[in-house]
C-alpha cells in the first residue's frame, strides 16, 4: 500500500473515531439529562478518541517512512553475494542504486548477473513485506487507540483539558521547528566542514591567498593539486558588497528621509509602494539584468573613456545588488525615522533650525542606532546574496580591490562547487560546506548584533 493511501486511511479512521466518540458521549448524556451533565462538550470526547486513534499511528508512519529505506538497503547489501559486495561508500551507493532501479523495473533485467537479479528480487519482496507490515501495524495501533479512547468516555471524564494539552503540545512542536532548523543548519554545515578541515588545515583555508578548488581525478594529473585559500573569495565578497552599499545606503537613506520628512502625503502613498516593488523582484531577474544589460553597458561606457572594464565586473553585480537593497534600507530607515518623537523635531525647528538642519543634527543622530542596525542587516543580505553574483560576477578568484575587474564571491563558489554531480566526500564538495559555515557565522553575527541594536533603539523611544 502507498504511504499516501495509508495516510488517508488513518485520517479516515480518525474521523470515524471522532464521530464514534461524540456519539457515545451523547448517548451517555441522554439518560443523565442532556449534555450539561457531561464534563466537556461532546466534540471534545470525539476529538479525544480521534487523537488516540490517529496520533500514535501518524508518528509511527512518519518514523517508518524515514527509516525503512536505509534499513531495507542494509539488509539487502548484507545478503548480497560476495562477488558483487561493495568495498567502499561509492560502490555501495552505485550498487544500491542499481538494485533499486532493477527492483523498480527502471533498468531492464536482461543481461544482468543472477546475483544482482536475486538482490533486486530480495529488495522488492522486502519492500512488499515492509509495506504490509506497516499497514497491519498501523491498523492495529489505530484500532487499539480508538478502543482505548472510546472506552474512557464517561460523564465525569475530563476530555477537554486532555485534548487541549495535546493540542498545545502540537503547537509547541511547531514552534520548536525553528530551533530544529537552526540546529539542522549548524549540524549539517559543521559536520561536513569538520571533514573538510581534516584534509585542508583550517589555517590554510581562512588565511590562504590562492583559491583553485580543482582536485586531481587521476593520480598523474597536472596542475590540479587544489588549493583552498579563501581570502580571495572574502575580498571579492566584500568588494561586491561594498559597491552595493555604496549605491544602496545614500539612495535608500535619502529617499527614506525625503519620504518621511518632506514629501506630501500623496507623493508618499505612491512613491513608497513603487520603491517597494524593487524588493519584490526575484533576484534571478536582477541577475539577468546585471549580466545582460548593465555589464555590457558599463563595458562600453568604460571603453569610451579608455578604461578596460571586465564584462563580469564587480561594479555591475554590486551596483545591481545595491538597487535591490535600496527598498530594504529605505523601509528600515523610514521606520526608525518616523519613530523619532515629534517633540524633538518641534524643539529643533523652534530654535530656528531649517528642516535639513533638523534632519542632520537632530533626527539622524537620534535615529543612528536604528539606521546602523538596518545597514548591518543590509550588509548581511548583500554578503549572502547569490543569484546576482552567480549570473553577473566571475568565476576566477582574483585578489583585487578594483571594482572594474572580475571577482568571485563565497556564494558563487558554493554554487559552482555543488551544482552538477560530484562525489560527496571529495574536498571540493566539502569546501562548499566550509564556505557555507563561514557565510552562516558571519551573517549570523551581523544579524544578532543588528537585531540587538534595533531592539535597543525601539525600547529607547517606546
Amino acid at each position: 500500500m502507498q504511504a499516501t493511501n495509508i495516510l488517508i486511511l488513518i485520517l479516515g479512521l480518525g474521523a470515524f473515531a471522532f464521530f464514534l466518540g461524540r456519539g457515545r458521549s451523547l448517548a451517555l448524556a441522554k439518560p443523565l439529562g442532556g449534555i450539561r451533565k457531561l464534563h466537556s462538550l461532546p466534540s471534545y470526547y470525539g476529538l479525544h478518541a480521534a487523537l488516540w486513534c490517529a496520533l500514535p499511528s501518524l508518528v509511527l508512519l512518519f518514523l517508518w517512512i524515514m527509516f525503512d529505506d536505509p534499513l531495507i538497503n542494509s539488509i539487502v547489501i548484507e545478503s548480497v553475494a560476495a562477488d558483487i559486495a561493495p568495498t567502499d561508500t561509492a560502490s555501495y551507493n552505485l550498487l544500491i542504486n542499481k538494485i533499486a532501479n532493477l527492483a523498480d523495473g527502471i533498468l531492464p533485467r536482461k543481461g544482468e548477473s543472477a546475483a544482482l537479479i536475486a538482490a533486486a528480487d530480495h529488495m522488492s519482496s522486502l519492500r512488499v513485506i515492509s509495506r504490509w507490515a506497516l499497514t497491519a501495524l498501523l491498523l492495529t495501533i489505530s484500532l487499539l487507540g480508538l478502543l482505548w479512547g472510546w472506552s474512557r468516555i464517561s460523564a465525569s471524564f475530563r476530555a477537554r483539558p486532555v485534548v487541549e494539552k495535546v493540542m498545545q503540545n502540537i503547537l509547541l512542536a511547531c514552534a520548536c521547528l525553528a530551533i530544529f532548523t537552526t540546529l539542522g543548519i549548524v549540524l549539517s554545515v559543521m559536520f561536513e566542514s569538520i571533514q573538510f578541515f581534516r584534509s585542508v588545515p583550517i589555517f590554510d583555508f581562512v588565511f590562504g591567498l590562492e583559491w583553485s578548488p580543482q582536485t586531481a581525478i587521476r593520480e598523474d594529473q597536472v596542475g590540479s593539486s587544489g588549493s583552498f585559500g579563501a581570502v580571495p573569495l572574502f575580498v571579492g565578497t566584500l568588494l561586491v558588497s561594498a559597491v552595493a552599499m555604496f549605491v544602496a545606503v545614500p539612495v535608500g537613506l535619502m529617499s527614506a528621509i525625503y519620504l518621511a520628512e518632506y514629501a506630501s502625503k500623496s507623493v508618499r502613498t505612491y512613491a513608497k509602494p513603487a520603491l517597494e516593488i524593487l524588493a519584490g523582484i526575484p533576484t534571478v531577474v536582477y541577475g539577468f539584468f546585471a549580466a545582460l544589460t548593465v555589464a555590457p553597458f558599463l563595458r562600453d561606457l568604460g571603453a569610451s573613456f579608455g578604461l578596460s572594464v571586465s564584462s563580469e565586473s564587480a561594479l555591475a553585480a554590486g551596483g545591481v545588488m545595491g538597487v535591490m537593497i535600496i527598498p530594504f534600507i529605505s523601509s528600515l530607515a523610514d521606520d526608525v525615522i518616523t519613530a523619532v518623537p515629534q517633540s524633538m523635531r518641534d524643539g529643533s525647528l523652534a530654535m530656528g533650525a531649517t528642516q535639513s538642519e533638523t534632519v542632520r543634527r537632530v533626527i539622524i543622530p537620534a535615529a543612528l542606532p536604528g539606521i546602523v542596525g538596518g545597514v548591518m542587516l543590509a550588509i548581511s543580505r548583500a554578503i549572502g546574496e547569490t543569484m546576482i553574483v552567480v549570473m553577473a560576477a566571475g568565476m576566477a578568484a582574483k585578489l583585487t580591490a578594483n571594482p572594474l575587474e572580475s571577482v568571485t564571491t563565497v556564494t558563487v563558489q558554493i554554487v559552482t562547487l555543488l551544482t552538477g554531480d560530484q562525489e560527496f566526500d571529495s574536498p571540493k564538495t566539502l569546501a562548499a560546506f566550509a564556505l557555507g559555515l563561514m557565510l552562516f557565522t558571519v551573517t549570523l553575527l551581523l544579524n544578532i548584533f543588528a537585531l540587538h541594536i534595533v531592539k535597543k533603539y525601539r525600547e529607547q523611544y517606546d
Partner: protein, 431 residues
C-alpha cells in the same frame, strides 16, 4: 542691562542674516538630494521593467514558414500508424526536408542543403508526425502546413521586420530564401503557443515554460500545505500560550535569525539533511517544497504573530468572561479574526518562495528536464531556475525567451501581491 550685550546680539543677528541665504541654499540642496534619491529608485524600477519588456515582448510571437508537405508513406517508412515501434523508427524529418527541397528546387550540394534544412526547426518533423497522428487520413495526401522556423531564422526575420537585420548567423543564401518566402507571403509571425505548452528544450524555438510553471506550482502547493499550518501553529503558540521564559526567548531569537539567514544556506541544509541523510531523490518537488518550507516559515510566523497581536485583548477577555477556555478563545475568536492577516502573510511568503532560486540550485532542481512534471516525485525545475538556465544559454534567441519567462514570473508575483494587498484592505479590521 548694559550696552555691550546689545551690540553683541545685533552682531549675532547680522551673522545670522548673512548666513541665512547660505543655509537656505543648503536646505534647497538637501531637498534636491532627497528628490534625486527617490527618482533614482523609481528610475531603476522603470529601467528594469522597460528593459525586460523590450527584450522579451518578441518572444510571444514566433516565425513560421508555409511549406507544401506530402505525407509520403515510403519516405517516412511507416505503413501502420497504430504501431508504436514503426512510429518510433519513422524518418519524420524526411517529410520536412522533402517539403523544403520542393519549395526551393534549385538547391544542390551538401553545404547548401544543410543551410536549406536549417531554415526550419529541427523538431519540425515531429510536429508533422503529431499532425499526421491527429488526422491519419492525411497519409499519402499533400497539404500546406505552417512549419516552425529555426531560431536563427526567427531572430533574423524579427530583426529584419524591425528594420535592423541581425544576420550574424545567416548565410547569404538563407537571406535570399527568406526574401523569396516573404515576397510570396509564405513566412509570417504567429502567436508562440509553444512557449506555454512545452517543456524545456535545447532548441530555443521549441522551448517552453510549461514544465517550469508546473514545477513551480507543485513546489508552491507543497510549501503552502506545510508552512502555513506549521507557521500559524507556531505563531499561535508563541503569542497565546508560551510562558515568558528563556526557552520561549530562545525560540524567538531563532525565528528572527532564520528570517535573515541567506537563502543559499537553506540549500546546503536541504542537500546535507534531505538528500544525503534521508535519501530523498534529487530534483523532485518534494525536496524543493521542504527546503522552501523551512525558508518561508520565519516570514509566515512573524506576519502571523503580527496579525494575532492586532486582535485587541478585549475580545479575549470577553470570551473568557463567558467561560471559554484558553483554547476556545484562540480557536473560536482570535484565529478567525487574525486569519486575513495570516493569509496576507502566507501569500507574501509564497511570493518569496516563487521567486527563490538559490537554494534550489543546491538540491538539483537545476537539471535540464524536458518532460512536464505531473507529480511531487517527478524530476522538475521551477520558473526562476528555468530563467537562470536560459540566461546561461549561448543562443541569442534564448535572451528573448528568458525575458518572456521573466515577464511571466513577474506577472505571477504582481497578481499574488495585488491579491495580498486587496485581502488586507478588504478583510482586515481596524480596531
Amino acid at each position: 542691562m548694559t550696552k555691550k550685550p546689545m551690540t553683541d546680539s545685533s552682531n549675532h543677528l547680522d551673522k545670522i542674516k548673512k548666513s541665512l541665504s547660505r543655509r537656505n541654499r543648503a536646505e534647497k540642496r538637501f531637498r534636491w538630494y532627497g528628490r534625486m534619491a527617490v527618482f533614482v529608485g523609481l528610475a531603476a524600477v522603470m529601467v528594469l521593467f522597460t528593459d525586460i519588456i523590450s527584450k522579451g515582448h518578441g518572444a510571444f510571437r514566433i516565425t513560421y514558414v508555409e511549406l507544401q508537405v506530402t505525407y509520403d508513406q515510403d519516405m517516412i517508412g511507416v505503413e501502420n500508424l497504430t504501431d508504436p515501434a514503426q512510429l518510433a523508427l519513422g524518418d519524420w524529418e524526411a517529410l520536412s526536408k522533402a517539403a523544403l527541397r520542393n519549395e526551393f528546387g534549385d538547391v544542390s550540394g551538401r553545404r547548401d542543403k544543410r543551410k536549406l534544412y536549417g531554415l526550419i526547426s529541427s523538431g519540425a518533423g515531429y510536429d508533422l508526425k503529431d499532425r499526421l497522428l491527429a488526422n491519419p487520413l492525411l497519409l499519402g495526401e499533400t497539404e500546406n502546413v505552417w512549419i516552425l522556423a529555426d531560431d536563427d531564422i526567427d531572430t533574423y526575420y524579427k530583426s529584419w521586420l524591425d528594420g535592423e537585420p541581425y544576420a550574424a548567423r545567416m548565410s547569404a543564401k538563407q537571406i535570399q530564401w527568406i526574401d523569396e518566402l516573404h515576397a510570396q507571403g509564405k513566412i509570417r509571425l504567429q502567436f508562440n503557443s509553444n512557449l506555454f505548452t512545452r517543456g524545456d528544450s535545447r532548441e530555443p524555438e521549441q522551448a517552453g515554460i510549461r514544465g517550469a510553471v508546473m514545477g513551480s506550482l507543485l513546489v508552491l502547493i507543497l510549501t503552502l500545505m506545510l508552512s502555513f499550518p506549521i507557521g500559524v501553529s507556531a505563531a499561535i503558540y508563541l503569542e497565546e500560550f508560551a510562558p515568558r521564559n528563556r526557552w520561549t526567548d530562545f525560540i524567538e531569537v531563532n525565528i528572527n535569525n532564520l528570517a535573515a539567514v541567506p537563502s543559499i544556506i537553506f540549500g546546503l541544509l536541504g542537500l546535507a539533511i534531505f538528500i544525503n541523510f534521508f535519501h530523498v531523490p534529487r530534483s523532485v518537488p518534494i525536496v524543493g517544497g521542504l527546503v522552501l518550507t523551512l525558508m518561508t516559515l520565519p516570514t509566515i510566523i512573524i506576519t502571523s504573530r503580527a496579525a494575532i497581536k492586532s486582535v485587541p485583548p478585549s475580545i479575549r477577555e470577553a470570551a473568557m468572561g463567558m467561560g471559554a477556555s484558553k483554547s476556545q478563545v484562540v480557536l473560536h475568536h482570535v484565529l478567525p479574526l487574525s486569519l486575513p492577516g495570516m493569509l496576507t502573510g502566507a501569500i507574501i511568503g509564497m511570493a518569496q518562495a516563487l521567486g527563490e532560486s538559490a537554494p534550489l540550485l543546491m538540491i538539483g532542481m537545476v537539471a535540464f528536464i524536458v518532460d512536464i512534471p505531473a507529480g511531487f516525485s517527478d524530476p522538475a525545475t521551477v520558473l526562476p531556475v528555468q530563467i537562470f538556465l536560459w540566461a546561461d544559454s549561448p543562443e541569442r534567441a534564448f535572451i528573448e525567451k528568458t525575458s518572456a519567462a521573466i515577464m511571466v514570473l513577474l506577472s505571477f508575483l504582481i497578481v499574488m501581491n495585488t491579491v495580498a494587498v486587496w485581502l488586507r484592505k478588504r478583510l482586515e479590521r481596524r480596531w
